[in-house]
């Protein structure tokens, strides 16, 4: 069989192929249960098999981009409510993301899970693959019923994965918080679907698309979707579960949640806002975009500020995910605004930024979370204050993590820069909006985005410098070992994705453009194709262009040429000795910055943003120490009051339960009388 035939077949049966992937994952999960304690069978056979299925799903999605949508009806579910499924280009982009990212994560997981760490490997294998299958089903669902079933399966399977090490109190607490907020969000999504079905009783997405909505109900549906999907994505103030759940989960699970699961929420918002409600989009709905933009900006700024002051490496990454989700919501907001004023090219630019940032964040954030997993296994330490100097014993992890760090700071020529560039470009060409206030708001928003991008650099230098560079802060770190072959393979795959997304933006946008065209009616690919595959010029090269390959080539050639010239013209001699440090003799690892010390300037400049408890040493202390605890204002301003009032109301209701049968009989009697009064004909 030659290659074009195969791709044609893949294309024709894309949806069936993806259904097959769901089935395979479920089968792999169940197979894990047959030998729940056999680590060799599960880790070395089932997880790589799952990765292979992921990879295939990714390629199937890649092939189906730009093809006509495929639909299917599955006869499972309730008797007269079968599952409707549909694969269009928007879903395909996110299936692509899911497939390629989870392939790397599963390969890593094959080397990561060990015996005797919480849940038995077999059960873990079931939960993990159930999680994958439910995420894929969320992306394929074409009616509210299937969507909600998949959404709940996703929430529950990830809850069990988060609480893998459930013997620890704080992990159970994190899991509870996650489950709670996931369900508050799910209720909002359910209500949103209810509003969009409009009392017809037909919950297929096709019916919702066709139904005309009044502007009030359309806006209500949009706001409910923004709240519900925002809770899943970690939008402020529904973000509190993220920095608790991500560190609690095992690293491959954190990678999957941060890299892939958060994107299903972005997918949901795009599906509802641009697809199901598309008939309601118009000049009157510009404020939808402003709401999303404002929420995104707050989230991004909040996330990056808190990321800089964390001293736990996984919490730092969790806050950085909040920041990135914020940036994605900013771009979604812009796309809404431009679309409302029918500025098609700019809307397409913003939408491309959304999709591209989803892809690049999935790659680099999973990579970074997996790297923390390797560090955790090598050192048993999560706290930045006890790490340091790991580039020596763990060069592979360190250099691969550097790729993730550079991508996540949004620096050229890696993947994060492309999406940031697209986002800033769409800000820059916004003048011309017919609304004067909006015109003024947009540059200020651009300034905030620039600030966020620059502060992400601070957070990431802290993350990388304190874990991998400097002197080891503890003696035990000398025994650290580099990642095993499976772990390395997973990391290399994700790092390669980051590089590819950074270096070939024009070709990749050429592929994902189908989704933009599907949502907005216009895309960027046609104008870009004129300028060649090596140059990213979304509007025209005179206005803006970026050619990462030239970029990389110039830097690489001047590095190599410089090195060669210096060695031939002069010499390459090196002498090793103790560090100079201005001649100071007593150098120790404790003279370096701690995690708290490194972020001290941020705490000082943005003091009102944090709730800080500090203890300063005094001259009379026998054992002087300094400590600082940085907490979130929202926890005290919003969550604890709500929790207290819920508690209070529950106590009031509990008074109904007197425990005496006479009182219960009286309740029944009163109810009967009231019903008789109310239900009179």
């Amino acid at each position: 069989m030659n290659f074009p035939d195969l791709s044609e077949i893949l294309r024709q049966f894309a949806l069936d192929g993806l259904l097959g992937a769901i089935g395979m994952w479920l089968a792999i999960g169940v197979a894990g249960l047959t030998a729940p304690r056999s680590l060799g069978f599960i880790a070395k056979l089932l997880f790589p098999l799952g990765a292979l299925v992921s990879l295939l799903a990714g390629f199937v999605a890649l092939g189906s981009l730009g093809q006509p949508a495929q639909t299917a009806v599955l006869l499972i579910g309730l008797p007269d409510m079968p599952f409707h499924l549909r694969l269009d280009s928007l879903a395909a982009v996110f299936v692509l993301l899911l497939g390629f990212t989870s392939a790397g994560i599963s390969v890593f997981a094959a080397g990561y899970f060990r015996q005797g760490e919480g849940t038995a490997p077999g059960l873990l294998c079931l939960q993990y693959h159930l999680f994958l299958a439910s995420m894929l089903l969320v992306l394929l669902a074409d009616d509210a019923y299937a969507f909600m079933v998949a959404w709940e399966a996703m929430a529950l399977s990830s809850f069990f994965l988060v609480t893998t090490n459930h013997q620890h109190e704080e992990i159970r607490r994190a899991g509870y918080l996650y489950l709670l907020i996931a369900h508050v969000g799910a209720i909002a999504i359910l209500l949103c679907f209810g509003v969009m079905a409009g009392g017809t009783g037909d919950y297929t997405f096709d019916a919702m698309r066709a139904l005309p909505h009044t502007s009030f109900w359309a806006s209500a549906a949009f706001l409910l979707a923004l709240f519900g999907f925002g809770a899943k994505a970690g939008i402020v103030p529904m973000h509190v579960w993220l920095p608790e759940a991500h560190p609690a989960a095992p690293s491959p699970v954190s990678a999957m949640m941060s890299g892939v699961m958060l994107k299903t929420a972005v997918y949901g918002l795009l599906r509802v806002g641009f697809d199901l409600l598309h008939s309601s989009l118009g000049a009157a709905t510009w404020w939808w975009g402003v709401v999303a933009l404002a929420m995104g900006l707050t989230t991004a700024l909040f996330g990056v500020l808190f990321a800089t002051v964390q001293s736990d490496m996984k919490r730092l990454l969790a806050y950085s995910s909040i920041e990135n989700i914020g940036l994605i919501f900013v771009a979604i907001g812009l796309a809404f605004i431009f679309h409302a004023y029918s500025m098609a090219v700019l809307a397409a630019l913003a939408m491309t930024a959304v999709l591209y940032h989803c892809l690049s964040h999935a790659g680099f954030k999973s990579l970074l979370f997996l790297c923390t997993g390797s560090v955790l296994h090598a050192t048993k330490e999560r706290s930045l204050g006890k790490l340091g100097g790991l580039i020596g014993p763990m060069p592979w992890v360190a250099w691969l993590a550097l790729i993730g760090v550079l991508a996540s700071t949004g620096l050229p020529p890696l993947s994060g820069f492309v999406s940031e560039w697209l986002l800033l470009q769409s800000f820059l060409f916004s003048p011309g909006l017919p609304h004067p206030w909006l015109n003024m708001l947009v540059p200020i928003a651009a300034a905030v985005v620039a600030l966020v991008a620059a502060m992400a650099g601070f957070a990431m230098v802290k993350f990388y410098g304190i874990i991998f560079l400097g002197q080891m802060r503890e003696d035990a770190l000398k025994d650290a070992h580099d990642a095993g072959p499976w772990e390395k393979a997973g990391l290399i795959w994700l790092a390669a994705l980051g590089l590819l997304l950074g270096v070939l933006p024009a070709s990749i946008i050429g592929h994902i453009d189908a989704a933009t065209r599907e949502l907005l009616g216009t895309g960027l690919a046609d104008t870009m194709r004129e300028h060649g595959w090596w140059m990213l010029a979304p509007i025209s090269p005179e206005r803006a262009s970026y050619a990462p390959l030239v970029f990389l080539a110039v830097i690489a050639s001047s590095v190599l040429l410089g090195r060669w010239l210096v060695r031939t013209l002069y010499h390459g001699r090196v002498r090793r000795t103790a560090a100079w440090d201005c001649g100071y003799f007593f150098q120790g690892p404790r003279a370096q910055d701690t995690a708290e010390g490194f972020s001290q300037p941020i705490r000082r400049i943005f003091e009102p943003m944090f709730r800080m408890q500090r203890h300063f040493p005094t001259a009379r202390d026998v054992e002087p120490y300094y400590s600082v605890k940085v907490e979130d204002h929202f926890w005290y301003w919003l969550y604890l009051p709500v929790a207290r009032s819920v508690d209070g109301v529950a106590k009031l209701i509990a008074r109904l339960q007197g425990g005496r049968i006479a009182i219960y009989l009286m309740y029944s009697f009163l109810t009967l009388i009231i019903l008789l009064l109310v239900a009179r004909p």
Binding site: A544, A591, D593
Partner: protein
């Protein structure tokens, strides 16, 4: 696509930048000495120093990692790229479309990340102090620089540096009030980014004052030479960027070698005036405390945003 003659001209421009950059640093030092009534080192002092450093052995700390050894080369490469994409002699060089102003800011950011990481690599108190302060200055200066370029980009309707120079330099002379705000902000930012007074002092090794010097304390030999060369290239690239954004007159558009040659004298004059102004600013101002730096750069950021608003609200009404 890229032609051979275009590539040659690009290489010529890069070579010129590599030569002019240490000269510019030497010129600033000379001017500063004269202004402070000291006898000045020769103009070629930077070259003598580079030559000396390249000859010396590299003395590495025993725990220095591969990243520490790679960083000087990468920083140098970034600055070569920056000097290649800022239009100094012509607006029609082949690398110009490779990166626009946003990507240029990204190149500076990349170099900054590498030098800060290298500073943290040895694990001395000075190194991590320098790295932290550099990132602090960086995250305040970078958005301000972006806002400055945005203001100019909105006037030219393009982020491409070549188009900006062509619009501003060849079009009819229009006075843009927004450019005044942007110009002041740019001056602030370039003082901070090039480790100059009042944010940093290139001439001291005093613990409380240093940022850039603290980061490169552990470097020696060819590594130090490359970092010093990269620092002068950065000053050169910033100067050329300032000239391109605010004094874009006299940069030819053609891509023939003759036109390039003809543009050199004007560039030299502009750079000489710019360098002397820098020396004057450095002589008149005092170094400020590190925690005044956020206020200084915050002012720059606000001015840049004001420039953008002026552009949007006042100049675009018509």
């Amino acid at each position: 696509m890229i032609s051979v003659s275009g590539l040659l001209e690009q290489i010529f421009a890069i070579g010129l930048a590599l030569l002019l950059a240490p000269l510019l640093s030497g010129w600033v030092n000379q001017c500063r000495c004269w202004l402070q009534n000291r006898s000045a080192p020769p103009l070629l002092q930077q070259f003598f120093m580079l030559h000396k450093l390249f000859h010396k052995d590299v003395v590495l700390a025993s725990n220095a990692s591969s990243l520490f050894r790679a960083a000087p080369f990468i920083v140098f490469g970034c600055m070569v790229l920056a000097a290649a994409i800022v239009p100094s002699l012509s607006t029609d060089l082949p690398f110009a479309p490779a990166a626009d102003t946003i990507a240029l800011v990204g190149v500076f950011g990349l170099a900054r990340i590498f030098i800060s990481l290298a500073a943290m690599d040895i694990g001395t108190a000075f190194g991590s102090l320098g790295g932290r302060r550099e990132m602090l200055v960086g995250f305040l200066a970078e958005p301000a620089l972006l806002m400055v370029t945005f203001t100019v980009a909105m006037i030219a309707q393009s982020t491409s540096l070549a188009t900006i120079v062509e619009t501003l330099g060849r079009g009819p002379l229009v006075i843009y009030p927004s450019l005044a705000f942007a110009g002041i902000a740019f001056t602030f930012v370039s003082l901070a980014e090039n480790a100059r007074v009042p944010v940093d002092n290139p001439a001291t090794h005093l613990e409380l004052t240093m940022i850039h010097e603290a980061m490169i304390l552990e470097y020696s030999g060819r590594h130090l030479a490359l970092i010093e060369w990269a620092a002068s290239l950065k000053l050169y690239a910033y100067s050329c960027l300032g000239l391109a954004l605010f004094f874009p007159w006299g940069i030819p558009g053609g891509d023939d070698m003759l036109g390039l040659m003809a543009a050199i004298p004007l560039l030299l004059i502009k750079l000489a005036i710019g360098g002397a102004t820098l020396a004057l600013i450095e002589t008149l101002l005092a170094k400020m405390r590190i925690f005044r730096a956020p206020e200084f750069l915050g002012t720059a950021f606000l001015l840049a945003v004001l420039g953008l608003l002026v552009r949007l609200l006042l100049e675009m009404k018509a």
